[in-house]
């Protein structure tokens, strides 16, 4: 895949006055301002898409006072008069100094280089893809005020990296100093800030599926550099591309996996619907109990120990149709990021991991959309500007037509009346306020309904709304404020018998707010700090009579309300080019009325990195975590009836720590990353249940719970190739996860108080996710998954009792089901790249479980008279071919 990088400069010098010199009484225009201010005025008043490199020798002052519609034309003429070249291309204006840059520098300074003037024509050629990109890359960009130039020391360069056609910020682009001394990556707004030594520098930009870009900079002082990347049509010749995941040599944090939507869309899944959660399960260290399960286990943790964040809001049930699909619409999301070891101190509240799912921002140039047709769902998405270049929206929706599945079931099966459906809607709004502020609004709504033979109906829904304000105070200081509301409601209606007809429901509602500051104190220290509060409002259960003849006693468990507050601070301390530490501390406290003995406490998030060279690093980390909300479920899978309960005087918060170490090496011209991570993890007060515990509608639930400790350890090996014709990863994990009841309850103690296997303890696993691009239109994806079978409890004996054969169960999880193996393949056919074409159609033809292996989900025994027989349930016991159609317009 070849994408051409284009960079353009908009140097908004730090010493330039921020406010446009506009006299409100004097009509539209500016008077007596310098070029930078003029550009800034145009940017705020007319179009933000103006890129400017100041000519530092230009001391002209501009006064323009004309009607608004004529202003731009006049300004361009004036700028040209002052010796700038002004180019209009693709809706953007590029204002560049018209003289050879070399003239402004000491003679011989750049004698090794060829420098070129950015003529109107050459720029046009370049943007049109005709000129050599080297021409452009060999240009030298000046940062800062040459007159105020410092002889030594460091300067900060900051700016945005955006996509040139859609104006979307590009997230996670690595920005690095070629000498390897400093490194930054763009945040979710596409913003980066990097500290460079004064003088000549070579600055590299690299990102997923993008060519490496090297820019020559002449740094005089602090300044800005906006970089625009353009997605070019694919080229068959290919280009030198390297990996973004060089990133792992630059951050001391460990166990962070990021997958972009492009990769997610390539991974074949059952029914062909690109599914972020299913892809998360292909990462090393992530396991699930089986297919059709969206609950996942990270490094031996349980499913409720993962914080799933969607644009900052918590999703309590990230599944549709009980785990067949995840709740995230692939047309809307940009990437998912999983933190499984070094969890930044700004996150908390769950023991094992944080999974961040982020929306894309809408296209800021034009309205576009896509239509997707799959086996189970159809999708529609629209995005575009509301106010061009300032306000954008993205809207997506999905609905299902899966009832046909049930119609395939035989009439006599008794299930023919079953119906399943879901819908979800995503909305994202972004508003730029000046160059330093942006406001984002997110909304998410989903509902699921399943009815069973007209008697029983299950429903659940998620509602999330959040608003985020991002503000850059000054060079090194920024603030992000996020606030929102998350809601998850679940209900069952059972009308099977009119006298016992009921409606059972439960709900989690929470309001949250987070204020986070980022400050670069010096070259060596970057501080992040803030506060975080979550107000919980849980309805653990309502049980109501349904219909007039129902004898059901309506009952509501007492609502649970609490406040989880936390303050956090972390310092990224770069001691030298080899050694970096990330030292974080979070203090969380849980306040619940009537429960004064819920222990809060510190959480340490420490990690350190030592780099031997550019491509070889070792890291170590230690984290402690606390969790105050617990999922109550007695099945190994995440099931829709799970309810959530808060810590109380009787339900101790879960606490845990993890120590980890890793070795990282990048090979093959920065395209292949090898990593080895090892961890040891302990969790206490994990919730397990007494035998025969009543979990539903139980006011005194704490009496049914038993504190359990968890001990997990493992080694994860991964080779990842992010770019190239062949990309993807291969991983091998060896890990164990075992549980033990913490208190001694005599004969009732689970497993006699000894360690036993966690239900997701699968020691060996091998995962391969690979995508090979034959041409720019055809690519083949392969997904392979092998793991040891999960532990289950099977009977050890049988006996005749109460008129039938009964089974004796003993040691918990003492047996393993057969090993799991699955191979999936998909062929992705991209549209032809006719730029003028109105719609682009792409489709995916694939097959899930190509070998048709009957992978067991569970092993169980049934009895019939005197006979007992063993059975195995296999969820997808055959090949599932699929086709998915996507229409872009």
């Amino acid at each position: 895949m070849k994408r051409l990088l284009i960079i353009l400069l908009g140097a908004f010098l730090c010493f330039a006055p921020d406010a446009p010199a506009q006299n409100p009484g004097a009509g539209f225009g500016v008077s007596k301002v310098d070029a930078a201010s003029l550009i800034e005025f145009i940017r705020t008043e007319i179009t933000p898409e103006i890129y400017f490199v100041p000519d530092d020798t230009d001391k002209s002052s501009y006064t323009i006072r004309v009607p608004k519609e004529e202003f731009l034309e006049r300004a361009i003429a004036e700028l040209r008069n002052s010796g700038y070249t002004v180019t209009h291309y693709d809706g953007k204006y590029f204002v560049l100094p018209g003289r050879d840059i070399a003239l402004t520098l000491p003679a011989g300074y750049f004698e090794r280089r060829e420098t070129k003037t950015a003529e109107d024509d050459s720029l046009k050629n370049y943007l049109g893809g005709n000129a050599s990109q080297m021409t452009f890359q060999n240009k030298i960009y000046e940062i800062g005020d040459p007159d105020a130039r410092r002889r030594s020391g460091k300067a900060t360069v900051r700016g945005y990296v955006r996509d040139v056609t859609s104006g979307e910020p590009l997230v996670g682009i690595s920005v690095y100093d070629e000498s390897g001394k400093s490194y930054a990556s763009t945040d979710e707004y596409g913003f980066y800030r990097i500290s460079l030594p004064v003088g000549e520098n070579k600055l590299g930009f690299s990102g997923y599926s993008l060519e490496d870009l090297k820019l020559d900079l002449m740094v005089y002082g602090d300044g800005g550099l906006d970089v625009v990347m353009k997605e070019k049509v694919f080229s068959l010749t290919g280009a030198v591309i390297t990996s973004e995941s060089m990133a792992q040599h630059r951050t001391p944090r460990m166990g962070i996996e990021k997958v972009r939507i492009q990769m997610i869309k390539n991974v074949p899944v059952a029914f062909g619907e690109a599914d972020a959660l299913k892809v998360v399960m292909t990462l090393p260290g992530v396991k699930s109990v089986g297919e059709a399960s969206s609950g996942f286990n990270v490094r031996g943790g349980s499913t409720d120990q993962n914080l799933v964040l969607f644009n900052g809001g918590t999703i309590y049930n990230p599944n549709h149709m009980f785990g067949i699909l995840s709740a995230f619409n692939p047309d809307i999301i940009s990437d998912v990021e999983l933190y499984k070891s070094s969890i930044p101190s700004s996150y908390g509240g769950r023991i094992s991991s944080v999974l961040e799912v982020r929306n894309r921002e809408g296209n800021s140039k034009k309205v576009e959309g896509s239509l997707g047709l799959g086996l189970l769902t159809s999708r529609l998405h629209l995005e575009g500007p509301i106010v061009k270049d300032r306000t954008t929206f993205i809207l997506g929706g999905r609905t299902t037509y899966s009832n046909w599945i049930f119609n395939l079931l035989p009439q006599g099966s008794g299930y023919a009346g079953g119906k399943a459906s879901f819908q979800d809607v995503n909305l994202g709004l972004s508003q730029k306020i000046g160059s330093r502020n942006s406001l984002h609004l997110y909304g998410y709504w989903s509902r699921d309904k399943f009815s069973f033979s007209n008697d029983t109906t299950f429903r659940y829904r998620n509602i999330n709304g959040s608003v985020r304000w991002h503000s850059i105070f000054s060079e090194g200081h920024s603030m992000t404020v996020t606030a929102g509301y998350d809601s998850y409601h679940y209900s069952i209606e059972d009308k099977f018998n009119a006298f016992t007809a009921y409606r059972l429901s439960n709900a989690v509602d929470q309001t949250f707010a987070k204020i986070q500051f980022k400050s670069a104190l010096s070259d060596a220290h970057t501080l992040e700090y803030g506060v975080n509060a979550v107000m919980y409002d849980l309805n653990p259960g309502s049980y109501h009579a349904l219909g007039d003849s129902s004898l059901v006693k309506s009952r509501d468990l007492s609502l649970e309300k609490a406040l989880e507050g936390a303050v956090f601070v972390s310092d990224t301390w770069q001691i030298d080019e080899h050694l970096t530490f990330d030292l974080g501390l979070r203090w969380s406290q849980f306040f619940r009325k009537g429960n004064s003995h819920i222990p809060g406490g510190p959480e340490f998030r420490l990690s350190g990195k030592y780099s031997f060279d550019e491509v070889t690093s070792v890291k170590a980390g230690f984290n402690t975590m606390r969790q105050y909300i617990h999922m109550i479920s007695n099945s190994v899978n995440v099931s829709p009836t799970d309810s959530w309960r808060l810590s109380s005087d009787k339900i101790h918060p879960q606490t845990g720590w993890q120590a980890a170490t890793g070795f990282y090496k990048t090979l093959m011209g920065n395209t292949l990353d090898l990593s080895l991570e090892a961890y040891y993890k302990r969790v206490k007060y994990f919730v397990d249940y007494k035998s025969g515990a009543v979990l539903v509608m139980n006011e005194n639930l704490a009496d049914e719970l038993v504190g359990t400790e968890n001990r997990s350890y493992g080694v994860e090996l991964m080779a990842k190739k992010s770019l190239g014709k062949l990309n993807g990863w291969v991983s091998y994990t060896w890990s164990r996860s075992r549980l033990r009841e913490m208190e001694d309850r005599g004969v009732s103690t689970i497993n006699g108080g000894d360690w036993y296997n966690a239900p997701y303890d699968k020691p060996h696993d091998v995962k391969v996710v690979a995508n090979y691009k034959f041409t720019h239109r055809y690519s083949l994806s392969v997904n392979l998954d092998y793991s040891t079978g999960r532990p289950v409890t099977i009977p050890v004996g049988k006996y005749q009792y109460a008129g039938g054969t009964r089974l004796v169960y003993s040691a918990r999880n003492g047996y393993r089901i057969p090993d799991y193996f699955r191979l999936d393949m998909a062929l992705v056919i991209e549209p032809g790249h006719y730029l003028k074409q109105l719609t682009h159609m792409s489709f995916t033809v694939g097959c899930y479980n190509v070998t048709g292996r009957k992978n067991p989900y569970s092993i169980f025994y049934t009895t019939d008279g005197r006979d007992i027989s063993g059975h195995m349930l296999s969820v997808f016991a055959t090949q599932i071919p699929y086709i998915n159609l996507n229409l872009k317009f």
Partner: protein, 413 residues
């Protein structure tokens, strides 16, 4: 727990719908045997019966004998009700027992694993002291058929003046069924004793006085665990509570079906035990099923509390009620279609040979076509009789007997 039961069923459905399958899978495991099983309740006002045996391995039903030294029911006033029995079955006469006392069982027994070198001392097993949970009468026992006519539900209604109740039911089923082909006649080979003499040659004789091999009776006890509670309801009242179902293809309902439901009101603790046993037995294997778990009842070995003893002993006062379901009224039964062999008329000389090969005389038509008038003249003229394979004529070959229970409501014999 109702919601979970439904969910696990539901998940199996969902899974099934996306091409999942359930396959036979028998891991090569033998397991372990020798856990003591004590089955039975202390049923006041009755002769209570108990069964004491050892659990078996998964791959065999063989199990060793428990050497029972003494089995008694002890009352809280010190009185002892001696168990009578042998081998593994014991009964205790509790007809005169005082319902206001607490009771428990005490078993002194030697397990096969105790035998070895040295002195063998019997282990002493006791159940927890329990008092009677006041019984509730069965208000009604009824059945209903679903709209599609595929399933019949047996329902019970009961109530007590108390706030809350826990119930367990067992059911003894008896059903009358018919063979596929009626016979007015039966075959007697030469030498069969008949009335006062012996038949001299192969003979076909007519049934007399309504005798037949067309109607049979058989019985069974339902093996599924049936429990219910009113903990979610406003009062201790169950109305038409479904305890089990019968499919329309079940041969039990092919003609006249009878069931005697025995209801016991039990303690909450006992109810939890039965629920858990039910979960371990039936609600397993689904996507959202709870994992089965080790299950302990209320019986312990006094000298080793860690020993797993299977079973739960309650103190109960059972009540029973009977229900009959006549399929001649409901027309609910859907027979699995099996072709009935065409009858044929053999030569008299072939009778003996055919009989040895498994053929007997029959009628050509279904007897119901004739009503109660047996048209004797149609058959038997010139020794021409229709014959068919015996398995389609003699109902006893399907497992039942001609032993009609004395309380059975139909006139057939």
């Amino acid at each position: 727990m109702k919601p979970f039961r439904v969910i696990s069923l539901l998940m199996l459905v969902l899974a099934a719908s996306v091409s999942s399958c359930i396959y036979d899978f028998n891991p090569d495991l033998s397991g372990e045997d020798g856990y003591l099983v004590i089955e039975g309740d202390i049923a006041l006002g009755e002769v209570s019966s108990f069964r004491i045996h050892l659990s078996s391995r998964l791959d065999t039903w063989q199990s060793e004998r428990v050497d029972i030294h003494r089995f008694v029911v002890e009352a809280s006033d010190g009185s002892i009700y001696e168990g009578m029995g042998h081998s593994e079955y014991y009964s205790v006469d509790m007809r005169e027992a005082d319902p206001s006392l607490q009771y428990r069982i005490v078993l002194n027994a030697v397990l096969p694993s105790d035998y070895g070198a040295g002195e063998v001392r019997p282990r002493r097993y006791v159940s927890s002291w329990s008092s009677l949970v006041e019984p509730a009468a069965i208000d009604s026992l009824s059945y209903s058929i679903n709209e599609r006519g595929t399933e019949m539900a047996i329902r019970v209604s009961t109530h007590s003046p108390e706030r809350l109740g826990f119930y367990r039911w067992t059911a003894e089923e008896t059903w009358e069924y018919r063979s596929d082909c009626y016979a007015f006649y039966y075959f007697m080979p030469a030498g069969t004793r008949y009335k006062d003499g012996v038949v001299s040659k192969d003979t076909v004789a007519a049934f007399e006085n309504g005798e037949n091999i067309y109607y049979c009776w058989t019985s069974d006890s339902r093996s599924q665990l049936m429990t219910g509670s009113t903990e979610a309801l406003t009062e201790d009242r169950l109305v038409n509570y479904q305890i089990y179902t019968l499919a329309n293809t079940d041969w039990r309902v092919s003609y006249v079906y009878g069931v005697e439901v025995r209801q016991t009101r039990i303690s909450e603790e006992a109810f939890r035990y039965w629920e858990a046993l039910k979960r371990n037995t039936t609600d397993v294997g689904g996507l959202f099923s709870p994992e089965p778990s080790e299950l302990r009842g209320n019986i312990v070995n006094e000298s080793d509390e860690k020993e797993m003893v299977l079973g739960y002993v309650s103190v109960v006062k059972p009540v029973t009620k009977r229900l009959f379901v006549d399929d001649r009224i409901n027309r609910f039964y859907r027979e699995k279609w099996e072709p009935v062999p065409e009858p044929f008329v053999p030569a008299r000389s072939d009778w003996g040979k055919l009989y040895k090969q498994g053929f007997v005389p029959t009628t050509f038509h279904d007897p119901e076509a004739f009503g109660s008038n047996i048209p004797e003249v149609i058959f038997g003229v010139n020794d021409e009789y229709y014959w068919r394979p015996v398995r389609c004529v003699d109902c006893r070959l399907k497992g039942g007997t001609k032993n009609k229970p004395e309380w059975w409501p139909t006139p057939e014999i």
